[in-house]
């Protein structure tokens, strides 16, 4: 059968990093496609996704967080939540998986040249955002973009992903990095416990009035509040954000309060997928197929979608 679009390329596990432990651990896997000819077919653009096969168990969809390359290198961050992800978490270096893709649309990085970039990731949502901030921060692209702000938060310091990478990003002077954790806060607000050492509290009544001490870029608060604290300006800027739906909702609200337009805010959506190419029918939100028309959407487009996600 010529060009079977459903047949994956065989790839090997070349690296595994444990990002976060606990009941729902997160690991970042690096795969490399074995066949040199097939490697070229996997050249992806930031925002696209890949479908990973654990033969005998099934397939799962992941945002590709590595930089575009012609070497068949695909990096995905995986939270252990089910059958396929469970088997993935048991993989060892050298094990074989299937990879197919790249699928979906991509972030319009060329249109964004010259603009200021604000990246906002909440929890595991930082993974798809990473594909594009890695691209923007790469030496060959950095000068094409203006100021870069990176805002990222998770529940606890140990839940923060890409820890080594963030240490390096913290040391760079060509971007502003802001981090936050929120586990000291119950759903109703501060629990009264003092903030974690090194992660000072913010002004909870009026986050925008928080006085940022010199040299401090780590706080205890939710990601949307950190947006209010750091006040990224919408002028000639693009925001890329991803996270759980509730986080995206409050992040975009915080941005809009600062004057951002919906067309300036980009996000990626997800839905249960099987084919990844718009044929099996299941990932639709109204007439929009997340696998084909997305997964990258502007907030403007998301606002127009029907209420079923």
């Amino acid at each position: 059968m010529s060009d079977n679009i459903y047949k994956p390329y065989i790839a090997s596990v070349t690296d595994i990093q444990l990002e976060a432990g606990g009941k729902r651990p997160i690991k970042t896997f690096t795969f490399q496609i074995d066949d040199p000819e097939e490697r070229k077919k996997m050249f992806h653009k930031p925002g696209q996704f890949a479908i990973i096969s654990i033969f005998g168990t099934g397939e799962s969809v992941f945002a590709i967080s590595s930089l575009p390359n012609h070497d068949g290198i695909v990096q995905v961050s995986v939270m252990k939540v089910g059958n396929v992800t469970g088997k993935m978490h048991a993989l060892e270096i050298g094990d074989k998986v299937g990879v197919r893709g790249p699928y979906g649309n991509d972030f319009p990085v060329d249109d964004w040249k010259g603009k200021k970039m604000v990246f906002i990731g909440a929890g595991i949502g930082v993974s798809p955002v990473r594909s594009v901030y890695q691209y923007v921060l790469a030496p060959e692209h950095r000068k094409d973009y203006g100021d870069v702000t990176l805002i990222y938060g998770a529940r606890t310091p140990s839940d923060l992903a890409y820890k080594e990478e963030f240490k390096e990003l913290d040391a760079r002077d060509d971007l502003d990095l802001w981090l936050c954790i929120d586990w000291k806060f119950g759903p109703q607000g501060p629990t009264g416990e003092s903030a974690e050492e090194g992660w000072p509290a913010i002004n909870m009544q009026a986050p925008g009035d928080t006085q940022i001490p010199a040299g401090v870029n780590k706080f205890t608060c939710f990601v949307p509040q950190l947006v209010e604290v750091t006040k990224p300006s919408p002028e000639n800027a693009i925001a890329v954000t991803c996270g759980p739906p509730i986080a995206i909702k409050f992040i975009t609200q915080a941005l809009e309060k600062l004057g951002w337009k919906s067309s300036q805010i980009y996000t990626t959506l997800e839905n249960r997928m099987k084919c990844g190419i718009g044929k099996c029918g299941r990932c639709n939100i109204g007439d929009i197929y997340v696998c084909k028309h997305g997964p990258v959407f502007t907030h403007e487009e998301v606002k127009q979608m029907v209420n079923e996600f």
């Binding site: 059968m1 099934g58 074989k96 099987k274 044929k279 007439d287």
Partner: protein, 344 residues
């Protein structure tokens, strides 16, 4: 030049096509249920419409996508199913089902080419039967209000129209011509009377269709009522059985699953349905369409709105199967007409 084939020659025609290398798929009566099967013996041509739509010929209920072997942690033997180069003759389908193939053709080649469907379709010749027999049209047919006709030629390679003692035969393309060449001995030239009779019977069939749906204004009606409680009503009695989608000739949803036993496995594709709750459930447990009303709404919108938005083709061909076979009498015509009455 139209041809004619006498009814008493049809069996021999089919045997001849089989001898010429065609796998003949025709309507048969299996324990009282009309179905399309590989033909052994004589076909049942005085049928209404098959229970399962003939889309099965190109999009089987279950098929192996590829095999694989797992040795330790190495994947070997990743291979496609054995090549099948035989020609298929899909004989005697209704024009509504042929029109449905046009929708499936569009979907299975939408940007990405689905070789499983396309390979089979390319090898197949489709012969449609006009709905001119005494017992046609059926009580829930409504093809004429959704762009179809009891003698529509869309999606077919040949149209045969029953005119009493024979069929008026019209070849619609190269594939149809090949049938005429392969089985030339069984056809004779049609006369002016034959064509006139066919025209008469076609008009009779069109006039005999009692049901219709008005698609005018349906897009804006659906777009403005998505969140309306109208969708709660009829869905209350829905059982979630999935019959409406599994037996719909334009439905194409599928699932992909792996089967593995002692190191040898295969990846399979099977029919699936948007009516089943697990169809859309995330690993986190979140379900974007958690209730039957969301899922029934999705089906109606897919047929009457999304299909046109994405493929430029109406997703319903008026075959009436979902209306006739729904165990709780959910009637898609009533649902769509009702949506147009809703004041948002």
């Amino acid at each position: 030049m139209k041809k004619l084939i006498k009814k008493d020659k049809v069996d021999d025609f089919l045997k001849n096509m089989s001898g010429a290398g065609f796998d003949v798929v025709a309507p048969v009566n299996k324990d009282g249920v009309p179905l399309f099967c590989n033909l052994e013996g004589a076909p049942e041509l005085d049928y209404g419409n098959s229970k399962k739509p003939p889309k099965e010929t190109f999009f089987p209920q279950t098929e192996t996508m590829f095999d694989f072997k797992i040795e330790a942690t190495r994947i070997t033997g990743l291979k496609d199913p054995k090549e099948d180069n035989s020609s298929i003759l899909l004989f005697g389908i209704r024009p509504c089902d042929a029109r449905a193939m046009v929708v499936l053709d569009e979907l299975f080649t939408w940007d990405y080419i689905d070789q499983y469907y396309v390979d089979r379709k390319n090898r197949a010749t489709i012969i449609s039967f006009g709905c001119t027999q005494e017992h046609m049209p059926l009580k829930n047919c409504f093809c004429t209000s959704v762009g179809g006709n009891p003698c529509s030629k869309e999606g077919a390679d040949m149209l045969w129209t029953d005119i009493g003692d024979g069929y008026l035969v019209e070849s619609l393309n190269e594939k149809g011509n090949k049938v005429l060449d392969t089985s030339a001995a069984f056809f004779q030239d049609a006369g002016a009377n034959d064509e006139a009779k066919a025209g008469e019977l076609q008009k009779k069939a069109e006039d005999a269709i009692v049901r219709s749906v008005s698609t005018e204004g349906v897009h804006s009606a659906l777009e403005s009522t998505f969140d309306h409680e109208y969708w709660d009503g009829f869905a209350k009695r829905c059982l979630g059985c999935g019959i409406c989608t599994l037996l719909c000739p334009t439905c194409h949803c599928f699932d992909i699953n792996d089967v593995l036993s002692r190191g040898k496995g295969k990846r399979e594709r099977t029919w699936d349905s948007c009516q089943f709750p697990y169809y859309t459930v995330h690993a986190s447990g979140h379900n974007p369409r958690p209730a039957k009303k969301h899922r029934q709404r999705n089906r109606v919108y897919h047929k009457f709105l999304y299909s046109e938005k994405n493929l430029d083709l109406l997703g319903c061909v008026g075959c009436g199967r979902c209306i006739t076979l729904c165990p709780v009498n959910i009637d898609i015509i009533e649902v769509v007409e009702g949506a147009k009455e809703v004041v948002p």
